[in-house]
Amino acid sequence: MDEKFINAVKRGVDDTFSQMLGWSVQNVAGKKISLDQAIQEEYCVVIGFAGNMQGLITLKCSKKVAVQAASGMLGTEISPDDVADAIGEILNMITGAIKSHLAVIDDPFKVAPPTIVSGKDYKVFVKSKIDGDITLFKFEAEKIGSFYIEVYVTQNEDK
């Protein structure tokens, strides 16, 4: 993943959490990982994108972080469905922010709907033989906890 995309991810996450939740988040790590190093958490949101660039962006977090984020957006009385909706919307906004930070690239991609996967014993993968890299970003929200963004991106050769 090139430096421009990495910066767009960091800025997109920072913008979204500060504007939507008033959270100050710090990017504490960012590295290329292999498929078997992908993080497993109780909540996972996946958004696929396609266009000049194509790939997947995931947001993975604990139930505690997901509930705190949903409470921050919706108030105190929240159902499990509200939590799923809220973190889906957060990744949707992060993806939109990343796209806007990449705006120098002519229409970098179009975004598919967010998909929220939740449960205790599951794993989310991209296919095992991939053409591009997966980059893992770890973020810390003060007094709340950590969450992870994984990005798998390739240039679309057909474009």
Partner: protein, 154 residues
């Protein structure tokens, strides 16, 4: 327009499964469902699409069915990871076939890479703020068992 994609999905899935596995494939079910009526299974994969239509194609099956399908596609015993990959590839081929059925429509959709999920205890949902129609399809493949396909679209 709604009818086009739901009919295309049914035909594309049935034909693709028949061609891939060279055996009897029967469409047992095609009906609209609500988000909480989704089928849960051990292996799932989904592909997002965006264009004139927006949504998700989702394929679900048991691990045993995925292993049999993977063995048939790859020619020999396969690992669980390979079987999950094969399930993603099946869905990829089906989505390509759906697009062919919709060739008369301008830019029906562009697809995203497949995401693969293993684990019976997982649920997949789209946010309620987005109002997607969901159509559930169930196919029986004589060789391997039942495959469930769900189409989320708007």
């Amino acid at each position: 327009m709604e009818k086009n994609i739901t009919a295309a999905m049914g035909k594309a899935a049935e034909n693709t499964l028949q061609q891939l596995f060279d055996c009897r494939v029967q469409k047992i079910l095609q009906k609209p469902i609500t988000a909480d009526q989704q089928h849960l299974d051990e292996f799932s994969c989904f592909i997002g699409f965006t264009g004139s239509y927006n949504g998700l194609f989702v394929l679900k099956c048991s691990k045993q069915t995925a292993l049999k399908n993977g063995a048939c596609m790859l020619g020999g015993e396969v690992s669980a990871a390979e079987a999950l990959d094969a399930a993603g590839e099946i869905l990829n081929i089906i989505t390509g076939a759906v697009k062919k059925y919709l060739h008369k429509e301008q830019n029906p959709f562009t697809i995203t890479p497949p995401a693969l999920i293993s684990g019976r205890e997982s649920t997949i949902r789209v946010p309620r703020i987005e109002t997607y129609s969901i159509i559930s399809y169930k196919f029986n493949i004589a060789l391997s068992g039942n495959v469930y396909i769900e189409l989320f679209y708007k």
